[in-house]
Amino acid sequence: MLGPIIETLIGGLLTGVLYALVALGFVLIFKASGVFNFAQGAMVLFAALSVARLSEVMPLVFAVAIAVVIMVVLAYVIERLVLRPLVNQEGIILFMATLGVAYFIDGFGQTVWGSDIYKINLGIPKDPMFFFEGVFPGGILIDREEVAAAAVCAILVAGLAIFFQVTRTGRALRAVADDHQAAQSVGIPLNYIWLIVWAVAGIVAIAAGMVWGSKLGVQFSISLVALKALPVLILGGFTSIPGAIVGGLIIGAGEKLAEVLLGPILIKTFDLAGGGIENWFAYMLALVFLLFRPQGLFGERIIERI
């Protein structure tokens, strides 16, 4: 019994890494510009489609390189046409605007790249690996692809950490996140900052899109993965990169375990037509968590000034 559970746990954690990858895109943008970017999912889909279709005609490396260029251009266009005219608007307005952007990118991506299911081949062997065969009967099955994803995620996070800590732009981004006016007063143009974070979020989206795409195939449903990243955000806090990662792991592991452990009980008790509780379990987990710690795992406690 323990074997399958550990197997589920590890599978869940690895899926959680993917969630974290998407959540990372959200956090980057929210942290630097206060925009709740609902288009992150659409950006993942768009990035995945770009890589998938380009890699049909060229080696993967070039495809990724061109996709990076595309995502930077996209970031520029969004900054120029959407964010700049809406500067100083309330958060909810910006949020709605990103919903509009999401619709646009979804439509645009499928118009340009087509709307079938496409494949991305990362060149990682598909065959699963088995561990601890001596400890548990049948061993523990682990998907190589998910391990690869975890590695990508780790590299990205390390890269971002270096970027934020070491580079001038990175430090500027942190300044902006803390205090918009202060950042402007030290001479950092806000537009530039926004462009950078959106571009970085776009590149994160490429990574997420490639991993998801190779796992599930590149199709419209990828953009819905973004919805999965939201509970991660509540759990980890909207502004915390470590929070996004830890939250992703908790959610990933939690929902897989719930599906395996809680699912059958629920089905039996309530006479359900199948399980599928991972659709909402992550949210409920986050919600219950919020009731006890409203600022999230790594969020700072907000003391209201009167």
Binding site: G91, Y103, F104, I234
Partner: protein, 354 residues
């Protein structure tokens, strides 16, 4: 320009606090209601009823519900679809299990059930705010969607998961033809809009708005945040629940949970934002805009004579829709209702600019 307000003075508070204190507005609204009830049925065809009028009216009601919560009380919610589903399935089950129940009671029950669920899911709003709350409301959306898809009792063990309503009638009068359905919906929407307006301009509405504008100041004048927020969730969910039941019974006839998925939530939210937060008029304008725009976009290639595949049309529709949303937000972040208000103010002050 068309207003002649000189001489329209108020000699009682009742007149001063009327919904439309200006006589010209009053005439216009009465004219509009009369037009809706008496003139439209003279020429409207089935398409107009089922694709335009009925959807706009029902979704307006949902938008009013969401507007009460988001626009008036400041609590962002993405769970509208789920609450509509609660209304729809509550109505379905009541009608199924107690077939003799009056249709009005069925819809009231739908509203009340949604209200109960809404209050339950509103509890987190006491601890969390803004986007955190928005994401939390997604929990209700996904949970409810899942519950109606998987808990067989709700769908009366229908093997396909899809349910359908029987013949509808009210006090012995059939509600079958599109026109009958339209008139029924219109009557409900008119009555409920009036009720919403009364709540908003009364004590409850002021409590909501006070909580929205400055929660700390609201507390010092004795408003309990718990009461203000949960009452907004309750009233909002009631409206959304009724609209969900109407949508299921009068627009769809037979449906599955997918009809109330996250996209429905977004659709209603779009209506509220495009229409205008904190405006009942905006709820109607937003609903009309969001319903009519895809129809218009769908027809456009045909009108222009450009042949297109349906997939392409649907992708283009996404793009145009997204672009329009962004465009509108940039042009007027406070929505169509604000545009209307500005136009009205201009007309009132005409020929002066301010």
């Amino acid at each position: 320009m068309l207003y002649r307000e000189a001489g329209q003075f108020k000699t009682s508070y009742q007149a001063d606090q009327a919904i439309f204190p200006i006589a010209q507005d009053r005439w216009f609204v009465w004219g509009l209601v009369a037009f809706g009830f008496l003139v439209l049925p003279l020429f409207a065809d089935q398409y107009l009823y089922t694709e335009v009028l009925i959807p706009v009216l029902i979704l307006s009601l949902a938008a009013i519900g969401l507007n009460i919560l988001t626009g008036y009380c400041g609590q962002l919610s993405l769970g509208t679809g789920g609450f509509m589903a609660v209304g729809a399935y509550a109505a379905y089950n009541l009608a199924l299990r107690l077939p003799e129940t009056n249709l009005i009671v069925v819809f009231l029950f739908a509203g009340l059930m949604a209200m109960a669920v809404g209050v339950l899911f509103g509890i987190p709003s006491l601890r969390i705010k803004g986007f955190y709350l928005a994401v939390a409301t997604l929990a209700s959306q996904f949970f409810l969607e899942w519950a109606f898809a998987r808990v067989k009792w709700f769908t009366n063990y229908a093997p396909s998961g899809s349910v359908a309503v029987g013949k509808l009638e009210l006090f012995g009068m059939p509600i079958q033809t599109p026109m009958e359905k339209y008139l029924f919906v219109l009557a409900i929407v008119v009555v409920m809009t009036l009720a919403a307006k009364n709540l908003i301009r009364g004590r409850l509405g002021r409590m909501w708005m006070a909580t929205r504008d400055m929660d700390i100041a609201a507390e010092i004048i004795g408003i309990r945040p718990l009461y203000a927020k949960l009452s907004a969730f309750a009233v909002s969910s009631f409206f959304i629940g009724v609209s969900g039941a109407l949508w299921a019974f009068l627009r769809l006839g037979s449906w599955e949970p997918l009809a109330f998925d996250i996209n429905r939530s977004f659709q209603i939210l779009f209506m509220v934002i495009i229409g205008g937060l904190g405006s009942l008029l905006g709820s109607f304008l937003g609903a009309a805009f969001i319903v009519l725009m895809p129809i218009f976009l769908n027809q456009l290639p045909g009108i222009l004579g450009i042949p297109m595949s349906t997939a392409l049309i649907s992708h283009l529709e996404f793009m145009v829709f997204g672009a329009m949303i962004v465009f509108f937000l940039i042009v007027e972040p406070h929505g169509l209702a604000r545009l209307w208000a500005i136009a009205k103010e201009k007309l009132r002050l005409w020929p002066f600019p301010y």
